[in-house]
Homo-oligomer: 407 residues x 2
DNA sequence: CCATTTTTTACGAGGCTTGGAAAAAGTCTC
DNA sequence: GAGACTTTTTCCAAGCCTCGTAAAAAATGG
């Protein structure tokens, strides 16, 4: 079998419609002329495609008053039509589930957070919980209720590479939990289950300041995880959710990690690692170290407590070495950092950069930009929403049932 | 600016021609019908495209006698036309340059190896040397001399990401050496300069047993390097030649590496590392450890010398941890191994697998296939040739100046 | 109120693939 | 050995895109 598939007029149509939608998501509003300029399509083609998408209800012509006064016929502003679809980004974490519903334009419509002890529960319970969450989210909307078109579930832990469920999660005792199929049956929408950290780069998919940029997202908190955006695509492993940055070995034979191995980055840099190192307690704590506890630790370090300072330093060192290893393999990348580690960046940054310097060839990447993103939940919701919308764009570009109804 | 470019009929044509060529390279010979089946094109389109490519001189109809006797009109066999182009794969290594010329079908026409002390020489000398090598190669051909169409230079060391030259190489004292432009002027063909290890996966580009497979190539010898094939593409860094596997840190604060850092994989697993560890000499040897010396070391280990055995074990351990780290980040991958390490695989394999087991989550990948490829030079030549041919296929598919002359 | 400028739409042309029909080139059977 | 059968290849009209140009539309400026 050939690796290269054929192309035909259908593909061209789909691809170009997608290009128009993608451009529109990046800039918010455009005109037919601007679409032509941005995509390289002729104005004729741009106009024709835009017209079709408007008739399909994916885009709409909007009034814009801030238009600068110029001569000539003013362009009709076009924008994504929010009513075209509704998506949900759900999140499963230790001790809580949360979610956000957004419209097709990406505008958040409602958000909900619910603390539940899910540790010992099975798949049915989780699916019920998520379905209830989605229903309650829908009830919060001012607008009329309507079915969801696409749901993304972000999970702490390892997920199946076919996006169907959870291999293993620190939030759950059970393993191998199917989520996508049963939840899809309950909600009537396609469901994709992904690792939260791998998903994070999606949040920047249409951010103009990140356009075409390769970068990594780094979560340091309860665990340690990474997401990669390379060559304009969010990296996804074939066999699992991949980029298990927290379990890249830092020190052969080193500190014990939750995963059973010794010397993982997580065993030095995660909340529990910093806590046990700072308190001199060698065991992995049975329960999650809360955000407040980490704040207190950070404050103690800032106050000068040498043991706590050393713990944060060791954490930064492990992260730095891990980044240095990634940079050596891939390339130096800008880092978007989130989680409790982002809140303690003042305690970590120096040793992170020192670690990169010691482990990367020529210390390359030790001066890489470190972008802080304190609100992890917002990041995950943004990412899940973007992922869902991108998937819908693809579907819509493919189907595009040439407007059944005309306004 | 939009990330997605437009598509049009031109793109379709180029893409489909490329699909036909790519299929043909994978199978050697086909028929128009088989092309249709493999690419998904209609038989009409397949026939039309094949006809064009034959008229352009890229493909030719060949007589095949081993055809199985079936009813119906027999298909006309098609094959890549070797005369359509001529490419060279050159190699710069410590103390020698070598090269191979092949025709458009990938058939090797001539090979040449030349020992030269290039260590202290500058760019002009290197370019002269390569140009002479290419000229001498051309003179060895039975067929009439003709210009090269594409040249690939594989280099030990780091190369510019625009493929224009050498940032740094262990074979050369000088740094930042421009190769592509001056050599191109001399040879009249486009020249691309790449890192030898990064290039290696290209050797399997059209191998049916590797079709669509993700895998890594691992060179263990004078240095330690890796090539990655992910999602059907050979991984290339943006900033450099990338995947510096040998310089992924293995042990913080560990053994001194040539790169100046401490604890790199190379500082444990390369020839010089094994040598200094086995001999108890702490310094990095000034000169390259020859293949014979490594053979003697390996034989000593096989004979039971404990210090030498320990050196090989430490090497395998470092490689295993390195692979475990890569597997944790990307995914477990089959490994194609070459270099002196492949020759000593009996001494390394156990500790490699042990290292993976200790460093990858759940030991995933410790049972990954290890494919040995003893002839490194052949691998590099294959890779360079495949790279060059793939580049030519792209050009030809684009231009395809609809046959000026007809048979 | 008309000329000017800019955006959008309309229309014919060109290119590529498609599907079916016709032609070509063998094997098989009587 | 001639005709029937089968399979591959070629030919041709049709369909879908996009493109370029021209015309229409919508606002400004004098």
């Amino acid at each position: 079998m050939s690796r290269l598939a054929k192309t035909d007029a259908d593909m061209v149509r789909v691809h170009n419609r997608l290009a128009v939608l993608d451009h529109l998501r990046g800039v918010g509003t455009t005109t037919r002329k601007a679409v032509s300029a941005a995509t390289g399509l002729s104005v004729s083609a741009s106009s024709a495609i835009s017209g079709t998408l408007v008739r399909c209800g994916l885009m709409e012509e909007v009034e814009e008053d801030d238009r600068s006064i110029r001569r000539g016929r003013p362009g009709k502003s076009l924008a994504i039509c929010g009513r075209a679809a509704r998506v949900a980004a759900l999140k499963i974490a230790v001790g809580e589930v949360s979610g956000r519903i957004s419209d097709y334009s990406g505008r958040p419509l409602a958000e909900l957070r619910r603390g539940v002890d899910i540790s010992g529960r099975d798949g049915d319970f989780i699916v019920d919980l998520l379905a209830d969450l989605a229903r309650d989210l829908a009830q919060r909307l001012e607008e009329e209720p309507r079915a969801l078109d696409k749901v993304v579930v972000a999970v702490q832990g390892k997920t199946f590479s076919d996006l169907s469920g959870i291999v293993w999660s620190p939030a759950l005792k059970h393993r191998h939990i199917e989520i996508a199929a049963p939840l899809s049956a309950r909600l009537g929408a396609e469901v994709s289950v992904l690792n939260d950290c791998s998903l994070m780069p999606e949040a920047f998919r249409w951010r103009p300041d990140f356009a075409g940029l390769d970068f990594a997202t780094l979560f340091v908190g309860f665990g340690v995880g990474m997401g990669l955006r390379l060559n304009g695509a969010t990296f996804q492993g074939k066999h699992s959710s991949a980029v298990e940055f927290g379990h890249i070995n830092h020190m052969p034979g080193g500190a014990l990690c939750r995963c059973g191995n010794r010397g993982c980055v997580e065993a030095y840099a995660s909340d529990y690692a910093i806590w046990r190192s700072a308190t001199g307690n060698g065991d992995i704590p049975a329960h999650r170290i809360g955000d407040e506890a980490m704040q207190r630790l950070a404050d103690a370090a800032r106050a000068g407590d040498p043991a706590v300072r050393a713990a944060f330093e060791a954490a930064g060192n492990a992260i730095g070495y891990g980044l240095g290893r990634v940079f050596t393999m891939i390339d130096p990348l800008p880092i978007v950092m989130t989680g409790s580690g982002a809140q303690a960046i003042d305690l970590l940054e120096a040793s992170i950069r020192q670690g990169i310097r010691e482990s990367a060839v020529d210390g390359l990447g030790s001066d890489t930009p470190l972008i802080l993103q304190e609100d992890t939940d917002a990041l995950v919701f943004d990412a899940g929403t973007a992922y869902a919308l991108a998937a819908l764009d693809q579907e819509f570009a493919r189907s595009a049932a040439e407007a059944t109804e005309a306004a």
